[in-house]
C-alpha cells in the first residue's frame, strides 16, 4: 500500500494533467479565432459585402454574390429539409416507441454521421445528372439531405423535454390526441424546435464539401436556382488554395464573415433554447 502522501500527490498530478488537456484544446481555438479576426477584419469594407469578386491583381472586389448564393442555398435547403427533419423529429417524439419508430431513430442516428461529401454525390445523382448542369437546386438538396437526420434527432430530444403532465392534463380534459400534440405539446416545444432548426441552418451554412460538385461556383450574380451559384464556403476554399496574397487576405475576410454568420445563428439557437426552457418550467 502506497502512503497517503504519495496517493494524494498522484491525485494532484492527474488533476493538473486534465487541466493541461483543457489548455491543449483551448489553444487552437484561441489561435484560430484571433487570426480570423485580426487577418479578416481589415478587409471588411462596405464594398466587400456588395461587390463581385475582382480578377487577380485588380484592387477591390468583394463576395456579394457568394453571400447571396449561400443565402439562396440555405433557403432552398430549408424549404426541403426543415419540414422533413422537424416532421420526422415530431414523429419520433410522439409515436417513436414502436419498432418502426426505433428503426427510424436508429437510421437517423447512423446517418447523422455519414460524411457530407457522400451525400453530395447522392444530390449529384438526383439533380445534376438529369438536368445535365450544376445548379443551386442541387446544392440546396445536398444541404437538405444533410440536415434531415440530425435535425430529426435534435427536434425529438427537445420535444421530449415537454413535461408529460401537460399532455396528461390536456387528454384528461377530453382534448383529442392530435389536438393535444399540435396545440399543447408542440406549442410548448416551439422554442426547442426553433433551436433545432437554427442549429441545422448554421451547420448547412458552413458546409463546403457537397457544394463543390453540386452548386459549383459562379463569378457573377445569380438569382436562378437552376444555375450554378457561388457560396461563401466554396469561395473561401478557392481563395485559400490560390497562390495570390491578395486572395489569401480575402479568404480570411470571407472566413470572418462566415464565422459571424454561423456564430449569430448559434447564439440565436442558444437564446431560443433558454427561452423555451424557461417557458417549459413555468
Amino acid at each position: 500500500m502506497k502512503s497517503l502522501a504519495v496517493r494524494r500527490a498522484v491525485n494532484v498530478i492527474v488533476t493538473i494533467l486534465c487541466g493541461a488537456m483543457v489548455l491543449v484544446a483551448i489553444v487552437p481555438l484561441g489561435s484560430l479565432l484571433w487570426l480570423v479576426v485580426s487577418k479578416g477584419a481589415p478587409g471588411l469594407t462596405p464594398s466587400f459585402f456588395t461587390a463581385l469578386p475582382a480578377p487577380v491583381g485588380e484592387p477591390g472586389g468583394g463576395i456579394g454574390n457568394a453571400i447571396l448564393g449561400t443565402g439562396m442555398l440555405v433557403g432552398l435547403a430549408c424549404l426541403i429539409g426543415l419540414p422533413l427533419g422537424i416532421g420526422a423529429g415530431v414523429f419520433l417524439a410522439e409515436r417513436g416507441d414502436g419498432p418502426f419508430g426505433r428503426a427510424v431513430r436508429f437510421t437517423a442516428e447512423i446517418f447523422s454521421g455519414i460524411p457530407s461529401i457522400v451525400i453530395g454525390i447522392a444530390a449529384y445523382g438526383v439533380v445534376v445528372i438529369p438536368m445535365r448542369r450544376f445548379s443551386a437546386l442541387a446544392g440546396g438538396l445536398a444541404l437538405a439531405l444533410l440536415m434531415v437526420p440530425s435535425l430529426a434527432r435534435t427536434t425529438e430530444e427537445l420535444v421530449r423535454l415537454v413535461p408529460g403532465t401537460l399532455r396528461e392534463a390536456s387528454l384528461a380534459l377530453g382534448i383529442p390526441q392530435w389536438k393535444t400534440s399540435l396545440r399543447i405539446v408542440l406549442r410548448t416545444a416551439a422554442g426547442g424546435i426553433l433551436t433545432a432548426a437554427l442549429l441545422a441552418i448554421a451547420r448547412a451554412a458552413g458546409e463546403t464539401a457537397p457544394l463543390l460538385f453540386t452548386s459549383l461556383n459562379n463569378q457573377y450574380w445569380n438569382f436562378r436556382p437552376d444555375l450554378p451559384t457561388a457560396s461563401l464556403t466554396v469561395q473561401i476554399f478557392n481563395y485559400a488554395i490560390s497562390p495570390y496574397q491578395d486572395w489569401h487576405d480575402k479568404a480570411w475576410s470571407a472566413a470572418l464573415v462566415l464565422l459571424l454568420l454561423v456564430g449569430a445563428l448559434n447564439l440565436a439557437a442558444r437564446y431560443a433554447l433558454r427561452r423555451s426552457a424557461a417557458g417549459g418550467q413555468t
Binding site: V10, V24, V104, I114, Y124, G125, P149, F213
Partner: protein, 330 residues
C-alpha cells in the same frame, strides 16, 4: 425517384399502433398518426435514395471489377487507371493519428468537466468546446494551411526528425503539408465530438459507485480509476469510434493540408491523399464516366466504413447508458 408507394405503406402501417389511445377513436387522430408516419417513412426514403444513387453513379467502375479497384495502387485518370488503395491508406493513417491524439485530450477534458475541475470553470470550458464544434470545416482548413502547416514545417517536424528520426514515421523532407498536418487538424476537429460523448457517458455512471470508492478512502483520481473508468470503458470506446467516423469523412480541412498526392509513404511527413479529398478535388472536373464512377466508388467505400463505425459506436454507447452493471449497482 421510386414511387411513394412505400411511404404510403409505412404510413398505413403506422396508423394502426397508437399505443396510448384505443384505435379509431377520432378521425383527427388517425390523420395525425398517418401524417407523422409519413414523416418517419420519409427519413427511411431519404436514406434509401442516398444509397441507391451512390450505387447508381458508381456503376461504371464496378464493371471494371471491385477487387481490382480496391487493391490497385495506381490512380491516373488520364490513362483510365483507378486504384483506391492510396486513398484508403491516407484516410486510415490520418484518422488513426487524429484519434490517437484526440482521445487522451478528450478523456482528460471530459474528466475535468464532469469530475475534477472547479465547478465555476466548467460552463466556460464547455462553451469553448461548443464553439470549437461550430466552426466550419473550411475555416479549420484555412487556419491549418496558413498557421499549422508553417509551424509544422519550421518547428515541429525538424524537432521530431532530430529526436525520433530513427523511426520510419519521421523521415524524409519536412514540407509541412502531409499526413501529420491532416491528422493533427482532424484531432482538433473531432475533439468536441469525442469529449462530449465521453462526458455524457461519464454522467451515466451511477453515483453510488463513485461514492462507494470515496467512502472507502480513495482519492478522487483513485475513485475515477477504480469505479468510474471501468464502468464507462465501452462508452469511451464508442466515443472514440464515433470520433474516428467523423475523422474519416472530414473533407475540406484535410483537402487543404494533406498535400494531395496519391502515394503511399510510411513517413508522416510525406504528402498523401484521402478518400473525401480526392472526391472533393476531382468530382466536378471528371471527363469520363469511369472517372466519375471511380470517385463515386470511393464514396461508397467511405460510406461503408463510416456506416459500420457509426453503428458500432452507437451500440457501445447505448450499452453503457443502459448499463450492463446497473442491476449490480442498485
Amino acid at each position: 425517384m421510386p414511387p411513394p408507394a412505400d411511404i404510403a405503406a409505412n404510413g398505413a402501417a403506422l396508423a394502426e399502433p397508437p399505443q396510448r389511445l384505443p384505435a379509431g377513436a377520432h378521425t383527427g387522430d388517425r390523420l395525425w398518426n398517418a401524417l407523422l408516419g409519413v414523416f418517419g417513412g420519409a427519413v427511411l426514403l431519404v436514406v434509401g435514395v442516398i444509397v441507391l444513387e451512390l450505387v447508381k453513379v458508381s456503376r461504371p467502375v464496378m464493371a471494371v471489377g471491385a477487387t481490382r479497384f480496391l487493391l490497385e495502387r495506381d490512380w491516373n485518370p488520364v490513362v483510365d487507371s483507378f486504384g483506391a488503395l492510396p486513398f484508403i491508406y491516407g484516410t486510415l493513417v490520418t484518422s488513426t493519428l487524429a484519434i490517437v491524439v484526440a482521445l487522451p485530450v478528450s478523456v482528460g477534458l471530459a474528466l475535468f468537466l464532469s469530475e475534477m475541475g472547479p465547478p465555476r470553470l466548467r460552463p466556460v470550458v464547455s462553451f469553448a468546446i461548443e464553439i470549437l464544434a461550430a466552426i466550419p470545416s473550411v475555416v479549420y482548413g484555412l487556419w491549418g494551411l496558413f498557421v499549422l502547416v508553417p509551424w509544422l514545417r519550421s518547428t515541429v517536424e525538424p524537432f521530431l526528425q532530430s529526436t525520433l528520426g530513427f523511426l520510419p514515421l519521421f523521415q524524409g523532407p519536412t514540407i509541412g503539408l502531409g499526413f501529420l498536418a491532416a491528422g493533427l487538424i482532424l484531432a482538433v476537429m473531432i475533439l468536441p465530438t469525442v469529449s462530449s460523448v465521453t462526458n455524457e457517458v461519464l454522467k451515466t455512471v451511477p453515483a453510488s459507485l463513485r461514492e462507494g470508492a470515496l467512502a472507502l478512502g480513495a482519492t478522487r483520481w483513485e475513485a475515477i480509476r477504480i469505479a468510474v473508468l471501468p464502468y464507462a470503458r465501452p462508452g469511451i470506446l464508442g466515443a472514440a469510434i464515433l470520433g474516428l467516423g467523423r475523422a474519416l469523412g472530414e473533407t475540406m480541412a484535410v483537402t487543404m493540408v494533406i498535400g494531395n498526392s496519391p502515394e503511399i509513404h510510411a513517413s508522416l511527413f510525406a504528402a498523401g491523399y484521402s478518400l473525401p479529398a480526392v472526391i472533393a478535388n476531382e468530382f466536378a472536373e471528371t471527363v469520363t464516366d469511369v472517372h466519375t464512377g471511380a470517385l463515386a466508388g470511393l464514396a461508397l467505400v467511405l460510406f461503408g466504413i463510416s456506416l459500420v463505425l457509426n453503428s458500432l459506436a452507437r451500440i457501445l454507447v447505448q450499452l453503457v447508458s443502459r448499463g450492463p452493471m446497473r442491476g449490480a449497482a442498485q
